[in-house]
Amino acid sequence: MLKKTLGVMISMFAFAALAMPADRWIHVRVTESGPDGERVRINIPLSLAEAVLPTIKAANLSAGKVKVEGNALDQVDLRAMLQAVRKAEDNQFVTVESKKENVEVAKSGEFLLIKVHENHEGTGKTAGARKATNTVDIKVPFKVAEALLSGKNDELNVLAAVRALGEYPTLDLVTVQDESNNVRIWVDSSNSAE
């Protein structure tokens, strides 16, 4: 679950990264733990994504829009749901608690907040003896989510989402912490990830 979520988020922001007013940058920082751990830092101007996205014609990506195959977006009226949540008072809308996983979806002002906490047995030598916790925190401005859903029913308008993202001077989008990785994706006006 955590890896899938991370994969989808990184893919989406990689598209965004392929970013807007010239002074907005999207940053991705991945830090692997351990003595041999790698540290990856990616800094991409939003204006670059905005310039490049319309030119890419790949499998499901055309004119800055991703076509979602199957009927994944038909099952639920995401636009109506998003509008309803945006108009509602700040609240925690979804709470799923289980032994292995806690999921919370909340609204705070102009932001949709998603928190996932996974608990599982550690994988190290002391596996079984200790519990490991993975956490994913996602903060999405409603403007960006609406822009992403501004295309046809079966499309994600990544280009519009990148443009909307550029309206925020600083924004922490995703943080992931697990046993071996620490991932942070954010937007600001600095051209370096420090």
């Binding site: 010239a22 041999d36 790698e38 540290r39 830092r41 670059l48 310039a51 490049v52 030119t55 990830a193």
Partner: protein
């Protein structure tokens, strides 16, 4: 002024203008140094202005698949190089580990790629515009 002096002045002017053009276009630099005891060292500097011309001289049969493979990505490469040249200087990608350090950064209108691994160090730099022009020639 004699005809000879006029000719010499014209030739000198062409050299100065040509030199200024080549200098303005920048250069592609490749520096590879193997870290083994007898490791080789390759250092290459090519004026960027020469690259699109050199790309034209490559026999067409050697590039028969290039238009099909590169063609669809040409607008993307052009848009990316134009926008990268315009945006602020700084590091774009950095990967650090015990074994390897990779840095891709943009400075001025050029892109710099530096790799420092256990086996070798590689430094490559090239002007963004010239890279797009060269790729365009290859895709023809």
């Amino acid at each position: 002024m004699t005809t000879g002096m006029t000719f010499l002045g014209g030739a000198l002017g062409m050299v100065v203008v040509g030199g200024a053009f080549v200098y303005n276009e920048g250069a592609v630099r490749v520096d590879v140094r193997e870290k083994t005891r007898d490791g080789s060292h390759i250092y290459l500097v090519v004026p960027a202005a020469v690259l699109p011309v050199a790309a034209r001289l490559i026999p067409k049969d050697k590039l028969k698949d290039a238009p099909r493979e590169i063609g669809p990505w040409l607008p993307t490469i052009k848009a990316a190089s134009k926008e990268l040249a315009r945006c602020a200087d700084g590091p774009l990608v950095e990967v650090d580990s015990n074994r390897e350090h990779v840095k891709i950064h943009k400075q001025g209108k050029s892109l710099y790629i530096d790799v420092d691994s256990e086996e070798e160090t590689v430094h490559v730099s090239f002007p963004l515009e010239a890279a797009a022009d060269t790729v365009s020639q290859l895709a023809r």
